[in-house]
Symmetry: C2
Subunit: 497 residues, 2 copies
Amino acid sequence: MKQTAGALLSSIRLDRSSRRSISVQLYQGLRDVILSGGLRAGERLPATRTLAKETGVSRTTVIDAIDRLVAEGMLVSRVGAGTFVSDTLDRERPPPVGDAARPSGGKQPRLSYAIGHAGADFARRSWLPHRGGAFVTALPALEAFPMAHWSRISARLMRAERGVMMGYGEPKGYAPLRRAIAMHLNVLKGMNCDPGQIFVTSGAQQAFSLIGQLLLNPGDRVWMENPGASGARNAFLAEGADLVPVRVDDEGLVVSDGLQKAPHFRLAFVTPSHQQPLGHVMSLSRRFELLKAAEDAQALVVEDDYDSEFHFGSAPQPALSSIDANERVIYVGTFSKSLFPALRLGFIVVPPRMVEAFDRLFMDWASGPPTMTQAITADFMDEGHFATHIRLMRRLYKARYEALMEASAQLRGAVEVQQTSGGFHTPARLAPGIDEARVVAQAAQKGVTLVPLARYCLAPLDKAGLVLGFGCATPEDISHGISVLRGLPEIAAQLDQ
Amino acid sequence: MKQTAGALLSSIRLDRSSRRSISVQLYQGLRDVILSGGLRAGERLPATRTLAKETGVSRTTVIDAIDRLVAEGMLVSRVGAGTFVSDTLDRERPPPVGDAARPSGGKQPRLSYAIGHAGADFARRSWLPHRGGAFVTALPALEAFPMAHWSRISARLMRAERGVMMGYGEPKGYAPLRRAIAMHLNVLKGMNCDPGQIFVTSGAQQAFSLIGQLLLNPGDRVWMENPGASGARNAFLAEGADLVPVRVDDEGLVVSDGLQKAPHFRLAFVTPSHQQPLGHVMSLSRRFELLKAAEDAQALVVEDDYDSEFHFGSAPQPALSSIDANERVIYVGTFSKSLFPALRLGFIVVPPRMVEAFDRLFMDWASGPPTMTQAITADFMDEGHFATHIRLMRRLYKARYEALMEASAQLRGAVEVQQTSGGFHTPARLAPGIDEARVVAQAAQKGVTLVPLARYCLAPLDKAGLVLGFGCATPEDISHGISVLRGLPEIAAQLDQ
């Protein structure tokens, strides 16, 4: 049944308080009427005078809206005859598909095989909290960041040469930042890398994705620490990799376990300087064992060094990459912990023989972080603020760690917090009678964040536990958190008297 | 043959002007000697006193260096007996591989099949220049950017709540930015999207990569405009897609050509608002034809809207996405042209039925731009500076375009610059006698940048041409550029008398 112009137009809502002009609203309203089939192809539009009266706007506004639709080809104007809905519409417009006509599963796009398959195995990440407290993991002490220096450098760079700061930056990363990173790694991690080996990424996550895209084929076997980090795991899964959970003990990845499960592996993912999340430092003999296994299998090793700046002892362990005589180790670093997560700044150090392949990757289709972010970080490092910040944070995290160890004595019998040599989280073992999931839920109800060890597991572990963060929790937060834990039914029942 | 300690130690170079402490240098030097096999497993180190004398540093420094090596497990200290190279080393260390022993092609890592295969077909990008001038493409007028506003907003945000600005941001993008983008698109592009449909990316390039990873399978046929943009092309190739070059004419993508070459396509990539690089606006009838073809093939369409803010007429074309009744179009936008390239900020607008899949992608393994970058952009938009900037730039680019058209009359007979309706580049046709590559080379010698049309081609075109950028060139630059072109041997010979 044909509707009158008035009825049609009454479906157009004009909102005078909107930021969009009335003319734009009218244009969009008419367009919706046409696209929904309310006005058919070839149909004549009411006169602009009529439209103006019906919609209560000026004729100029109506003409303006109609002009846009004519320019766009929705309407055609015929001299002396009026304005008509374009014939094009009926010939070409696909029939609108009602929900009933949708193919089954039509609510889902067709995913790639790899993602569709991997999706089920992805480690679910939740949006990490941006507020500190006991016992949030992965978040540094934001309140202690020297924002004044950062802000001053930023302001200065915004007055710097516009071409450099605003134009297309060097694809592999801002050169002064790559120089600063190389110097930092060579001094602190015993490495001997050249700025040309460094590629700046949008956080470690992009690094893992790019490594996976460049080097993994569907079905490739990848050794993953179990328990282990979830970011790399998902990135490799997305490339169709076949992940092999490999045991971890006090010396780090158990290489013999990997060799038994998958001798022909393509890649091994490790966190040698501070196993994520168990906290062990990989022993030297294991390091050599891993490098030998990689050499034998012609495999590669990804070394994820996410927080080793914060060691409590006199000097950090050198990077695995620093003893890699055969160019098998790809090192991934991040500023998420040493500066702050929202920077989304990480980097890859590739062995010399791989520089060319990565150069092409970055030149042809990768896209890194904003130049400004990179330039502020470079100046922050060059001016010495980075080294100072790390030194101060080491002390602060050590103090928080000690506060945690001291307070946790109150949980004796129920929760045993493990010692660690650095970083800002440490695992805790639960007494056999305590259920991991239940204690996490009970703590959450009291506003205390606990991360279950299970979240890091690719394959079931024989031990239950928690991962306790202390980086963004003051000693008071920690002390409060421990007393909350003491009071939880799941824990109280197991405490030593 | 055994070397003396003195000979060994002489290979260690200590540089007192270096930023690394002498102790660190000594530690690294000793380490290199050990790792290179200069000191064997079980071998005794000379006394610290001897080492101090041989290297000319204090004994404390030597002890410090040795302590690090002991802590690291490279050396072992036996009470009363001295310090020895760890036995671990010989058992575990893989034999260093000399160049001769390397497998052939050992300089290259094993790439993924997809990348290895795609690599040969990648459109080579060069590092885009960050200095303006005639006839650089893709670079906006950096000198006209209101940096004072940007800088003020930045300074204010650095004093804002640290948790929000520094912690882990929302994976799909900073909510106020997604709101501002939705409003912008709804007003300017006739779209009707919700902030929940928007995903913020590290430039359009990351958007193309993520779309490819999520939705393409190896062998999937993808319609690409020919000539067309190279960023998306490489991203899809990297996923193993089978690219189908589809012809482009004055109305945009020739849908019938695509249907003839690959009726069962999975994805079509188009630049409907301003064909990259030919500059045509896709006609409405082609738009409907494309949507119908996508619906018939159950395919998706990627709409790359890289510069449509800068139209010279009264209003820009609405997005293809705005007439997409069947949720087939994924819209990709960027701030590289409307703000500046070094921001590395882009976004994806996905149809409602795909939101869940993209949400999971971003939640589980994608990594976006820094929160600060997103927050500054959001405030810049909310305060109205974005709209003002675009309005001013439209005028400025139009003036530059007119300067180009006027000056190019001097090239009549040799170079015919095509009219365009917006953006900041336009193609130019070369007279039959002129060689594209030769004119580009001759201009480069005179300091003038010309981009050959061939750079945008996936399959050979029947016409030779150039793409002339005018966004970052003042009218003086343009006038100078044209007189340089007039003087080139390749062009001068063809000019009308």
